[in-house]
């Protein structure tokens, strides 16, 4: 059963068309990777899928909710945005508390403890988010997306600014999420990590999905870099 169903989605900003007739399905329990060159439309698509932005045409259902109901949709999923922008004047601890309270979660402190331990934020939990490093802010954003253990995670460059230790820790956590039958939708440029994680991939280029399928099927014995270059450069590598 698809947890993400996007059908013929198009989006323009003024005269610039960013998405053109994008259709994709992501099945429950899949680890789905979306790749594409800079400016291909990855972040816009993720924002449309999560109800942060409305498409001009087409329909989107995410976690069984149309993206025209963004609050209900966001209640059901965890999102890591492109930029790490936790609240300026709240501490890391308070940011996670705010997230729990907005989502109406119970066991607030035990949930926070888990993620503070996971990201080693104990010494940083009472520092204002504005004063944290970029990596620490990214950890807060990831913890806030994971804290309610959603059935579907939508992540835009989740490994950015993380050092190799935490990249590995997050990677292992996400693998566990997929093993549990939950779904991960990830946009990333780091093809090596994606290759290790994703079952299914799609390549977006100039607002269109130019390649989509199970990684094993579309790689034709090659690696993800070749799939990516072939799709984007129109067979220059293949």
């Amino acid at each position: 059963m698809p947890v993400i169903e996007a059908s013929d989605v198009s989006k323009s900003f003024g005269a610039t068309t960013v998405l053109q007739g994008v259709s994709l399905n992501v099945e429950e329990g899949e680890f789905f990777g979306l790749f594409g060159p800079n400016g291909a439309g990855k972040t816009t698509l993720l924002r449309v899928l999560t109800g942060q932005l409305m498409q001009d045409t087409g329909t989107v259902f995410t976690a069984g909710v149309p993206n025209t109901e963004p609050i209900r949709l966001k209640q059901r999923v965890g999102i890591v945005p492109e930029a790490e922008t936790p609240p300026t004047f709240l501490t890391a601890q308070e940011t996670l508390e705010l997230t729990c309270m907005i989502r109406g979660l119970d066991d607030v402190q035990s949930r926070i403890e888990r993620w503070v331990r996971f990201f080693d934020l104990k010494e940083k939990r009472d520092i204002l988010c504005r004063d944290l490093s970029k990596g620490e802010r990214q950890k807060v954003m990831l913890a806030a997306a994971f804290i309610h253990e959603p059935k579907l995670l939508l992540l835009d460059e989740p490994f950015i600014n993380l050092d190799p230790i935490y990249q590995r820790r997050v990677r292992e956590y996400l693998q566990g999420v997929a093993v549990e039958g939950r779904t991960v939708f990830m946009c990333t440029h780091i093809l090596e990590i994606a290759e290790r994680l994703c079952d299914t991939v799609a390549v977006i280029h100039r607002g269109r999905i130019v390649e989509q399928g199970r990684l094993a099927d579309i790689s034709r014995g090659g690696d993800l870099e070749e799939v990516f270059l072939r799709a984007v450069e129109g067979g220059a590598v293949a």
């Binding site: 900003f13 999560t50 942060q52 932005l53 409305m54 963004p70 609050i71 209900r72 949709l73 966001k74 209640q75 999102i79 890591v80 945005p81 930029a83 922008t85 936790p86 609240p87 300026t88 004047f89 709240l90 501490t91 601890q93 308070e94 940011t95 508390e97 705010l98 997230t99 309270m101 907005i102 989502r103 607030v108 009472d126 520092i127 204002l128 504005r130 004063d131 954003m141 806030a144 997306a145």
Partner: protein
């Protein structure tokens, strides 16, 4: 090389400023703003002499120049922005100003260019349309076009002095809070020496005003020199390096949320807003600026009464009607504290945060409003009018700030540059306030006008209900990144 770099930076900043306005309010809204200033000023310039025929020219000039200094003081407070720019606290906003972080250009040069850009921008966007507006009324008032041009020049120079003062004060405050506070006290002392002590003339703070006493261009020269000296001082005092401090706070969110439990589903967001106001250091400035603006209304009429030598008969109820207008600035201040981009990925909508900010606005201003009305009642020996004043103050505050939040959401400061929004605001707010103020003024000679004040207050309160309810419909689908992306 150096000059050409500054010129290039200046051009880049001008383009940035213009495009920022366009992205927020559209090319039409952006272009209409100076047109609206022109029309509004022309209207006032035609009507004011008829209404205030007894007011001496000197008083009108004093008020115009004082307002320009105040405008400059408000605009020039960007000396403190350096810390935010250099310690990456502007969220996703990326501006030319941030180049010194990564490029071989000094922050002082950047601030000097920014200062020049703001001066030119406000000249083009405010003072030229304002001068042209006054020029329309010149033939009717028997004034020469040269005189109007000189008025435009002297008021702009008053603006520049205010901007320079504010810029220097904020640059000093970033280096040393104590030194900044001392300078603020010196400035307050100078203002007090002008009024009410009357030891020195207002020309000491507004040299360009001196031109009108004797038509001696010396005042203009002094103003130009003062503007340049103050701007140079501000630039020189700017810090090049900022340390990233790590501010630690004990957990407050849960405690405040519990205290606000009576607010139901809104308590968490109100708690967040309240903590942001406190930790951003805005609590004092918000309360003081709100009370300062209210007192300024009273002081201006006091100056006028002294200048003209007649009792205008402004009573407590009349002054109470201004609370809503002053509240707009306070609400705008509160909406500027945080970018809220984080909430884009949480199940929260813009209207909920607007409601949270409104709750904080009312919490911050209710006590000050009550003190103001009761205090005026005591000073003017009109305690009997205090209940009516409180009713009108509450009604205008709820209604005017409600309209503001409906029209501008979380982006009041920038959305008010949209002529269409300003027009809607004026249509919704000005007529009922004029009725209430006229009724308040004629109460002593026509007691039945009291009922008009009560009726307007009740109508404003009732009208506020659908406006506040409409926040959800208006803002539920907006993005918290609206200011950055225009979406």
């Amino acid at each position: 090389m150096g000059q050409s770099l500054s010129l290039r930076l200046f051009k880049a900043m001008m383009k940035e400023e213009w495009r920022l306005h366009q992205s927020l309010v559209g090319p039409l809204g952006s272009g209409l703003f100076p047109a609206m200033i022109f029309v509004f000023t022309a209207f006032l310039a035609v009507v004011t002499p008829l209404l205030l025929s007894r007011m001496p020219t000197a008083t009108i000039l004093l008020m115009l120049h004082a307002a320009s200094v105040a405008y400059g003081l408000f605009v020039g407070n960007f000396g403190s922005i350096g810390e935010h720019v250099m310690t990456r606290r502007l969220g996703q906003v990326s501006m030319v100003m941030q180049m010194p972080q990564t490029y071989p250009v000094s922050f002082r040069r950047m601030m000097a260019v920014f200062y020049a850009k703001d001066a030119v921008f406000y000249l083009l966007y405010s003072y030229i349309p304002l001068t042209l507006g006054i020029a329309v009324a010149a033939p009717m008032a028997g004034a020469s076009f040269t005189g109007v041009a000189m008025l435009g020049l002297t008021t702009f120079l008053a603006f520049m002095v205010g901007m320079g003062l504010s810029f220097t004060l904020s640059a000093v405050s970033v280096r040393s809070r104590m030194a900044g506070l001392s300078l603020y006290m010196v400035l307050t002392g100078v203002v007090a020496m002008i009024h009410p002590m009357g030891i020195i003339g207002p020309e000491c703070l507004m040299p360009s005003l001196g031109y009108w006493a004797s038509k001696n261009p010396q005042g203009i020269g002094v103003s130009v020199a003062a503007s340049i000296i103050l701007a140079s001082m501000g630039v020189t005092l700017m810090k090049e390096k900022y340390e990233i401090r790590q501010s630690r706070y004990s957990d407050s969110l849960l405690g405040v949320d519990r205290l606000l439990g009576f607010m139901g589903g809104l308590s968490t967001l109100v708690a967040k807003e309240w903590i942001e106001v406190r930790r951003s250091g805005a609590l004092g400035p918000v309360v003081f600026s709100f009370s300062g603006h209210l007192l300024a209304v009273y002081l201006m009429s006091w100056v006028f009464e002294r200048g003209v030598g007649v009792d205008l008969g402004f009573n407590v109820v009349f002054y109470s009607g201004f609370v809503g207008f002053m509240g707009v600035m306070t609400y705008s201040f509160i909406t500027n504290l945080e970018h809220n981009e984080y909430l884009n990925v949480q199940p929260v909508s813009v209207d909920q945060v607007v409601k949270g900010k409104l709750a904080v606005y009312f919490a911050l201003t209710a006590g000050v409003t009550a003190l103001y009305v009761v205090g005026l009642g005591a000073v003017k020996h009109q305690m009997g009018l205090v209940p009516l004043g409180l009713l009108l103050a509450a009604a205008t505050s709820v209604y005017v700030v409600g309209v503001t939040s409906y029209l501008t959401g979380l982006w009041t400061n920038t959305m008010f540059f949209d002529a269409g929004i300003i027009l809607k605001f004026c249509v919704a707010v000005v007529p009922p306030l004029i009725v209430a103020e006229i009724a308040a003024l004629i109460m002593p000679i026509m007691p039945a006008a009291t009922y008009a004040v009560v009726a307007v207050s009740v109508i404003l309160l009732l009208a506020s209900v659908p406006i506040l309810r409409g926040l959800e419909r208006k803002w539920a689908d907006a993005s918290f990144s609206f200011v950055n992306t225009g979406q």
